[in-house]
Symmetry: C2
Subunit: 293 residues, 2 copies
């Protein structure tokens, strides 16, 4: 399959690499933990565009590396993303019943198993990354440290907390919430792709990814307000129902659309500063801008 | 403080190293996540004998290494242990209200924050280990991979699942449940101490730790049945109330005491095969055998 065409809809070959890897992934099959693994796979294999791992592979390929070589790290990011969705959806947090077009993990398996399925995916993400990612130990360690930092208090969990606690009173805080909750993991996806393919300086990749992360979140807020539930695969209007501050509630639909366009433009500007064939990354940016789910 | 006396009650200097390190640990203080960090610290700093990190430091010292050099990895193990307690105590899992002598995390902070506090401690454990543990990258990677494997489906989370699901119908399964739920992390504590202090072959350390882990769990079951709630700092009789299979329910109190004595004996036999001054490890084994909480 040709890649590198700026008008290609999505790097389908990279998506297939990720999907095949996830389907074949051994999450520790033991008959006694079979239902736990079933719950983990139920949420992990519910489809989706696998944006984070595909960003990792696309970044590696832009640098001339074999994208398949970064699959363990890339898949780890998807396990972590899935774990965060399972815990976010729990009754005590967002209390959501629909995700990726199916009943959420706790609806299907019960709250106890859903909590443990999230915990298990998080642990298996590091297991995969630390146990199976090839490369110089120093480089693997750098990628793993990047992901750990992106998931902690100054990353994903901190952002989830701010969201839950309604700690986004000012515009500045809204930006911080999203940088932490979704931005840092998207950033880690791109940085890992760069680091694992030998980049000594990750800063220009981080700068590009920061805009992609912002774009992703603004579009997410727009879709929560305006998306079609059937198409989106999750409940819509939840943010408004829960009085959450979003880009739409803060800036209106037109304002949010304008901010999205500006973020996409800045992302492409920063992409132009990166070496190699960045056309996959341009396609991904365009996809994130215009996605319907 | 002298160490190395076989009759010393507990390696107090190592405990102090761990405690001071945990108290000073920066978990990502940001005013907007202040209450999340407060919940994490509430559970982390509730006291306890810090058996896992002290095992790591004692193992490193037995090999002639400076125990303080292994503190990030050791502390990471305590963060992970604390995270597992917070999630275990949740209403959807064990529904416990008392832990280490205080109301459990979700009782004090709410279920949503407790879930995220557990998630945050898990993430910060890897952040600490991957970001701050000194040593050759290859060695740090090996220690981190050991801990990740110990916490996943074939470790702690798998054991928690078996416990929740009542998947311990046969004696063999009861052993597996405990090996996974508590044994693997205790094993990782000893193995990390060995690996970080330069051991090429971790197998003899693993063999010793496996018996310590088994001993720990049998004593835990005895204390759940016979311990004093005030002394134990957690609810007693919960296992029986929840019809859980334990060493006491399966073998009776006398049988469980006998199994504990046998495990302690095997642990000391295996300890004798290790090099260096293993007196701290002997003290820890004796402590685990006779602990009251």
């Amino acid at each position: 399959m040709p890649h590198g065409q700026p008008d290609a809809p999505y790097p389908a070959d990279l998506l297939k690499l990720v999907e095949d890897y996830l389907v074949a992934l051994d999450l520790g099959a033991d008959r006694r933990a079979a239902r736990l693994v079933e719950a983990m796979r139920y949420s992990l294999l519910a489809g989706g565009k696998r944006i984070r791992p595909v960003l990792t592979l696309a970044t590696a390929r832009s640098r001339g590396a074999d994208p398949a070589a970064a699959l363990p790290a890339a898949a780890a990011l998807e396990l972590i993303h899935t774990y965060s969705l399972i815990h976010d959806d729990l009754p005590a947090i967002d209390d959501d019943t629909l995700r990726r077009g199916r009943p959420t993990c706790h609806v299907t398996f019960g709250e106890d198993i859903a909590i443990l399925a999230g915990d298990g995916l998080f642990a298996e993400a590091f297991n995969l990354l630390l146990g199976r990612q090839q490369g110089k130990p120093k480089v693997v360690l750098r990628a793993a440290a990047e992901i750990a930092a992106a998931t902690g208090v100054q990353g994903m969990v901190g952002g989830q907390y701010m969201d839950v606690a309604g700690e986004a009173a000012a515009d500045d805080d809204l930006r911080t919430l999203h940088v932490l909750k979704t931005g840092r993991l998207i950033e880690a996806a791109v940085v890992c792709g760069a680091v694992l393919s030998g980049a000594a300086n990750a800063a220009p990749y981080r700068a590009f990814a920061a805009e992609v992360g912002l774009l992703f979140q603004i579009v997410d807020d727009i879709l929560d307000e305006a998306g079609e539930e059937g198409e989106l695969g999750k409940s819509v209007g939840k943010d408004r129902a829960q009085n959450k501050v979003t880009y739409v509630s803060r800036f209106g639909m037109d304002g949010a659309e304008r901010l999205a366009a500006e973020a996409a433009e800045r992302a492409l500007e920063r992409l132009a500063a990166l070496p190699g064939d960045t056309s996959d990354l341009a396609c991904l940016t365009a996809y994130i801008r215009r996605r319907r789910r």
